[in-house]
């Protein structure tokens, strides 16, 4: 590290989002030619920090931020991503920002095309300039050479291997006139090892040319390998800012995960029936975009609460979604020795399983309908409950019974609403989640999959949801498989916790195991 003025300096960055502090007093410097590794669990605030740097509209819309950003010694305040781009900050997205049917050149020059004058410009304006393909190709060849990779400028992006798409994105960023800082968000997540190595080499070469790079990744060995300095964020706070020579995988992992344990004591249920092979999952493959499960095997004991943890994108959410038939799945799932028909939600329900979806508003609820209908729907469709026959011909909804059952759940779960007929849309997030819980409770399942049951809800609702889960586990012996990104929460309620990495179980640990061990499993180390 040099003592010159840093290229980029973020001071005292603070950001509140709907009353929650998501970033607190972040101080961060980036020198010219430096590669800064930014690590942290999902939700630690990395994305928000980068959004602030880029002046993404979402930041403005949620009340802006506090603190100062200095670029090249000048204070800057970007109000939209274009300003950031003009100031020389480039970003390589995790999801490709490319048009598949366009060639590399066309993508690199999208809306920045090199054009030639044509007469019609005088009449119809500059958009009638013609494209100078030759000049663009020439420049692309040059940029690609600079990157040290071998891409044919005319190749369509859709026909490129993934790494080339990544290179195309990087090429686009560095072709911009005066790139100073390049932010790369999880670039290697989609790459094979050799591809990743090539990419890292490219980044190093860029850094050598004086570009400051912020490298976001979960692959710690990559971070250690490439970065000069490492910054760890956790829960919106900057935990550690350390040169990479002074750290190792294990300590980074523990900084990331932290030592906090939720407000719950460890959960120790002694009454596990511990039936082995109660639910066995063998070689499960789930095609869930962004959360793919690849050849996963897992044994669940009867009566336990099994936690499933892991970083986002590794496939932990895919397990429940796959078994419940929401995304195409392959492999075998056996419940008490009976094989379960996959890809059929109805069969999963009939086998005694139920599911609290992580996508509450998208999959979990009929937002425009009443609380009553939402709670009654699964019972009605799956078990044919809450229906009555009229004249022996028509099965009709039993309004009275629905009201009764809904009222009882409103009371039990303390759902704040005007009554069973209120539409779910009008409820707060926490109360919506309670409706989701009531919905599955009404089914009295043998096995309950709870995916992120406490995500985005307030503390009170969180406690209530978790204690209800524990209650049905203890009183009714329901086996619960709970997926959560919050390790603390998992440790507070589960008996065992399985960590998923790259679509497979990286390991299963008892809840009491040291936090570092979980961190290492998550990072696949």
């Amino acid at each position: 590290m040099t003592n010159e003025k840093p290229l980029l300096s973020m001071k005292g960055i603070q950001k509140d989002f709907l009353g929650n502090r998501v970033l607190e007093d972040i101080n961060l410097d980036l020198a010219q030619g430096e590669i800064l590794g930014l690590v942290g669990e999902n939700g630690a605030g990395k994305t928000t920090l980068m959004n602030i740097l880029f002046g993404m509209p979402v930041i403005q819309q949620t009340g802006g931020y506090k603190g100062t950003i200095t670029l090249d010694g000048e204070e800057v305040h970007f109000s939209n991503p274009n300003d950031a781009l003009m100031a020389g900050i480039g970003m390589v997205h995790q999801e490709f920002f490319l048009i598949p049917d366009f060639s590399a050149t066309e993508n690199i020059f999208l809306n920045r095309e090199v054009t030639r004058y044509s007469l019609l410009v005088e009449i119809f304006g500059d958009r009638l300039r013609t494209l100078d393909k030759a000049a663009m190709n020439e420049r692309v060849v040059q940029v690609i050479k600079e990157l040290g990779v071998n891409i044919n400028p005319d190749t369509l992006v859709s026909e490129m291997p993934v790494s080339y798409k990544q290179f195309t994105e990087i090429a686009r960023e560095i072709d911009r006139a005066k790139i100073k800082i390049l932010v790369v968000d999880e670039p290697t997540a989609v790459l094979t090892e050799t591809e990743a190595e090539a990419l890292l080499a490219v980044l190093k070469r860029l850094a050598a040319k004086g570009v400051g790079i912020i490298f976001i990744s979960h692959r710690l060995h990559e971070i250690l390998n490439i970065c000069d300095r490492i910054v760890v964020l956790r829960d919106g706070k900057l935990i550690k800012d350390i040169s990479s020579g002074q750290s190792d995988v294990k300590s980074i992992a523990s900084w990331m995960v932290g030592h906090e344990i939720g407000d719950f004591a460890f959960h120790h249920t002694e009454n596990h029936r511990k039936t082995e092979n109660f639910l066995s999952i063998d070689h499960l493959k789930v095609l869930m975009p962004g959360e793919a499960v690849k050849d996963l095997c897992l044994q669940v004991h009867e009566g336990e609460i099994l936690g499933i943890g892991g970083l986002a994108g590794q496939g932990k959410l895919g397990i429940a979604n796959g078994i419940m038939g929401l995304f195409p799945a392959e492999g075998s799932v056996t419940l008490k020795g009976k094989s379960l028909k996959l890809n059929s939600p109805l069969d999963a329900f009939r086998a005694g399983m139920a599911f609290i979806s992580e996508d509450r508003r998208g999959i979990g609820l009929l937002l425009t309908q009443s609380i009553g209908l939402n709670i009654a729907f699964p019972l009605m469709q799956v078990k044919g409950g809450l229906l009555k026959k009229i004249a022996g011909l028509f099965t009709w909804e039993d309004k009275k019974k629905i009201r009764e059952i809904t009222s009882s759940y409103i009371e039990r779960l303390d759902i704040k609403c005007t009554g069973p007929d209120q539409s779910v849309m009008e409820l707060s997030g926490g109360n919506q989640q309670k409706v989701c819980v009531a919905k599955v409770l009404a089914l009295s399942p043998q096995i309950l999959f709870a995916s992120e049951p406490t995500r985005g809800i307030d503390i009170g609702a969180k406690h209530l949801v978790l204690s209800v889960l524990r209650e049905i586990n203890e009183k009714e012996g329901t086996t619960i498989i709970m997926t959560s990104s919050e390790l603390g929460e998992l440790r507070s309620i589960c008996d065992r916790i399985a960590i998923v990495n790259e679509g497979k179980i990286a390991g299963i640990l008892p809840a009491e195991a040291p936090v570092e061990d979980f961190g290492l499993l998550m990072l696949g180390e």
Binding site: F97, L98, D101, D126, R129, E159, L287, P289
Partner: protein
């Protein structure tokens, strides 16, 4: 990875034109019509309709599907023609003045249509279809109630007997085929309207050239992926409106060319069928709502009109009922649109699923 060009692939992607070609191969001998006669008909119809069909290409490029709103352009062209006839113009100047009059009207209507389509993203086709109907109401109101009362019409022959409103049909004696006949060559006893084809060629060249401009590139980007285009700073909505304006303009000129060829205007019907027939023709030519080329236009017009000319006669000779053939061609024009849209929607879904699979594999 190189794209594979296989015979099977070529056959499948050109399935629709091939089926129609086969149908023609069967129906032409059945109809008993002579080849020279058919050839003559085809040349005349190619000259008449190509420009109209060509107007559909640009919106497809911009990802807005088949622009049923092209009838707005046809209406504009017709309004221009009616005024020109009223003013007593004839010959080439009449056509040019009609085009000049139609231009601002088309731009206005195209802007309106594009604006509405921006409000209905993802449902462009059905919305443009309804816009066509809606504006047809406005058109009727204009011609049936405003012309001759608010808008002065000097030629009483154009007006209905009640004193205002344009008649149902009018002849264009001084305009009939002036473009076609101005420069034409006789080949094997057939008049080939060189100038008309030259006009069509100019517009084809325009489209080809247009694709190489900045705005053409922007349009392609918007058509392929709106989100990415928007992210790159391309003014998506403006670009889409422009695509519709260009389409409306070409349709306006196309309608003028088509009317001079026919020599009569059916004031309240000429434009109505134009949308359906043009779209059917383009689809018969092998285009889809996502991909349309100039070749599709000509192949389509040729095959569609061949079917159109041949099927009533073939129906008569085969079943002894010309009326049946008449209905058959209506059935085919609607059916071809239905089937193409179905195939297109089906393909789109499969591609989406496939992409999802690929993405998954990519991550493995």
């Amino acid at each position: 990875m190189k794209p594979k060009y296989s015979l099977k692939g070529a056959l499948i992607s050109n399935l629709v034109p091939i089926v129609f070609l086969m149908f023609a191969a069967f129906a032409v001998p059945m109809s008993g019509l002579s080849i020279p006669y058919l050839l003559h008909e085809m040349i005349s119809r190619l000259a008449r309709d190509s420009l109209l069909v060509l107007s559909l290409v640009i919106p497809v490029l911009a990802g807005m599907g088949l622009n049923f709103g092209m009838v707005l352009g046809a209406m504009a062209g017709q309004i221009g023609m009616v005024l020109v006839v009223d003013w007593g113009l004839g010959g080439m100047p009449a056509l040019l003045v009609a085009a000049l009059l139609g231009t601002p009207i088309s731009i206005g209507l195209g802007y309106f249509c594009g604006y509405i389509l921006n409000l209905a993203k993802g449902r462009e086709m059905v919305t443009s279809y309804i816009i066509g109907f809606f504006m047809n109401g406005a058109y009727q109101f204009l011609l049936l109630y405003c012309m001759g009362s608010i808008i002065p019409i000097t030629n009483p022959e154009l007006l209905l007997s009640r004193g205002y409103g344009i008649r149902n049909s009018m002849d264009l004696p001084n305009i009939r085929q002036v473009l076609d006949r101005l420069v034409s060559v006789e080949v094997f006893g057939m008049d080939i309207p060189i100038l008309t084809f030259a006009v069509i060629a100019v517009f084809c060249l325009f489209i080809v050239w247009f694709k190489t401009t900045k705005i053409g590139q922007d349009m392609r980007a918007v058509g392929r992926n709106r989100a990415v285009a928007n992210g790159a700073g391309i003014p998506v909505e403006k670009t889409r409106i422009l695509a519709i304006i260009i389409s409306t303009l070409i349709a306006c000129y196309g309608q003028i060319v088509s009317l001079q060829n026919l020599g009569t205007i059916n004031t309240y019907n000429s434009h109505e069928q134009v949308g359906i027939f043009s779209i059917a023709a383009l689809l018969v030519g092998g285009a889809t709502a996502e991909n349309a080329s100039i070749a599709n236009v000509f192949v389509g017009v040729f095959l569609f009109h061949l079917m159109f000319v041949v099927s009533p006669m073939a129906g008569k000779n085969l079943i002894g009922d010309a009326q049946l053939g008449e209905y058959f061609r209506v059935f085919v024009s609607y059916g071809i649109i239905a089937v193409s849209l179905l195939l297109h929607a089906w393909k789109k879904r499969h591609e989406m699923l496939e992409r999802r699979l690929l993405e998954n594999e990519g991550k493995e």
